[in-house]
Amino acid sequence: MHVRFALLLLAFVGTTSCATGASAAAPRNELTVFAAASLAEAFEDVAIELERRHDGLEVRLNLAGSQTLAAQLLDGAPADVFAAADDVEMGRVVAAGRAAGPRSFASNHLVIAVEPGNPAAVTSLADLARDDLVVVLPTDAVPAGRYAAAALETAGVEVAPASLEVDVRSALGKVVLGEADAAIVYASDVAAVDGRAEAVPLPPDPGAGIGYPVAVVTDSRRPALAAEFVDLLFAETGRDLLRRHGFGAP
């Protein structure tokens, strides 16, 4: 008697979990795009564009740090497209056979984010060493933090940051909230906050070009649609959308 009920319950739990698993793996008219968090706003626009072209299509964006997304893909998460902010993470996924033929579709560069109107009169990396400024940087556990540290080292500037924020958006957030006077972030991040921060450009550094690779996931259930999403990024429409969100050409 005991056993029968337990089995019944187990069977019930089993079927429901199978059902949800199946619906996630074989969506009827859905395209799942794994994209680096910094691509959020740009990819929302690209998704809308693709949905406009296909009646009833729903593009689902899974936005997170590139490392997190790569780990999810390596664990077998179902997806159709993977766009990373980092060649290293894309390389891991390609090496594991879960994505093929990555192509660079956009680039980004570092800027100094300051409050609108630049009240602290920050004009260069050297200004970040001023002790009247509260400066935050992304931690070097994320790519943006490593790029920022490299840029400062190249410029020979020593900064005493008030905080090493866990990701680049958090660093920008501190400027937007007025808690920090300056932060080193991506140009696209400043474009995403609609004038609540201003970008002070940095001199172009050939070593600091940051590329975004994209690839179709090899076991995608909608390979044609996935390829179309990727193609859209390279088409004039996609380029325009990316440019409007602060990204540069690949």
């Binding site: 008697m1 005991h2 056993v3 029968r4 009920f5 337990a6 319950l9 187990l10 740090g65 490392q67 509260v134 935050v136 931690t139 556990a141 994320v142 940051p161 008030a162 905080s163 090493l164 924020e165 866990v166 958090s170 501190k174 909230l177 007025g178 808690e179």
Partner: protein, 273 residues
């Protein structure tokens, strides 16, 4: 005789119900236990000693200890009067005050951090005038971390100590009052000595919560080694860089938390009396 039968009745379940309860129990225990077992299974035991000797990691542990102890002391000072007020005085709006005292327990800590910025940040309600008048700013400072973790951990002390007050025999306090003791004397000479177990439990619980606080702290005070990077922040950051270090740090927090809870022998949150 009738009483015994009734008790027996209440204690037995029908068989199908018993099976369901057994499954639910097993699932519940598994949900709570398996993550801990998983953590232990993943622990790189050979690296524990060298990692714990790492200077950066020790600095993090030292800061966490300092912050959590300061916060526990602050919780004690701020929380006992609140617990007394809630347990012993009736006034309009008491329900609202109790809700306010418990709110940080259910609020996402990140929301707490944002709210703290709105109040004590450089542009905050209190923070802006504070900076103008004194030049003091709280975000990005160790004091800021103490405030953030106290915001989250204070309710644990208030709830535990309030339950302690409510568990006291009010007649003893009344007797003292009848004998001419003022409210303050009653509190100091009668109630508080009887409350020692609740005070210890509440402080320890608040301390343990402070030790583990992440969201409010990182939102309000940021992350900088030696100033604001406590153990939970280091765990989160190391998870991407050196998962072994993250697991070892998690293990330290886990060991301390278990030691506190076991040491309290169920005397927390008003249960176990």
């Amino acid at each position: 005789m009738t009483a015994t039968t009734a008790t027996r009745r209440r204690r037995t379940f029908d068989r199908p119900v018993a099976a369901l309860v057994a499954v639910a129990l097993a699932a519940g225990i598994a949900l709570l236990l398996l993550p801990l077992v998983g953590l232990l299974a993943r622990t790189p035991w050979s690296r524990v000693a060298p990692l714990l000797g790492d200077p950066a990691l020790r600095e993090t542990l030292r800061l966490s200890l300092l912050v959590s102890l300061a916060s526990a002391a602050l919780s004690l000072v701020l929380g006992v009067p609140l617990a007394w007020l809630l347990a012993r005085v009736s006034f309009p709006g008491k329900r609202l005050l109790r809700a306010l005292c418990v709110l940080p327990m259910v609020l996402p800590p990140v929301v707490g951090g944002v709210a703290l910025l709105a109040a004590f940040g450089r542009r905050g309600l209190v923070g802006a005038p504070l900076e103008r008048l004194t030049g003091i700013t709280l975000p990005f400072t160790t004091a800021g971390v103490v405030i953030a973790v106290t915001f989250v951990s204070l309710p644990f002390l208030v709830v535990t100590v309030e339950a302690g007050f409510l568990g006291l025999d009010a007649r003893i306090e009344e007797a003292a009052a009848t004998l001419g003791a003022s409210r303050w004397t009653v509190l100091r000479r009668v109630s508080l000595p009887m409350l020692v177990p609740s005070l210890v439990a509440g402080t320890a619980l608040a301390w343990a919560r402070a030790l583990g606080e992440f969201g409010a702290s990182i939102t309000f005070a940021g992350n900088l080694g030696g100033t604001t990077r406590t153990v939970p922040l280091a765990v989160y950051l190391e998870l991407h860089r050196d998962p072994d270090a993250a697991i070892v740090l998690s293990l330290v927090l886990l060991a301390v938390s278990i030691a506190i809870l076991v040491g309290l022998r169920d005397r927390y949150l008003g249960v176990g009396r």
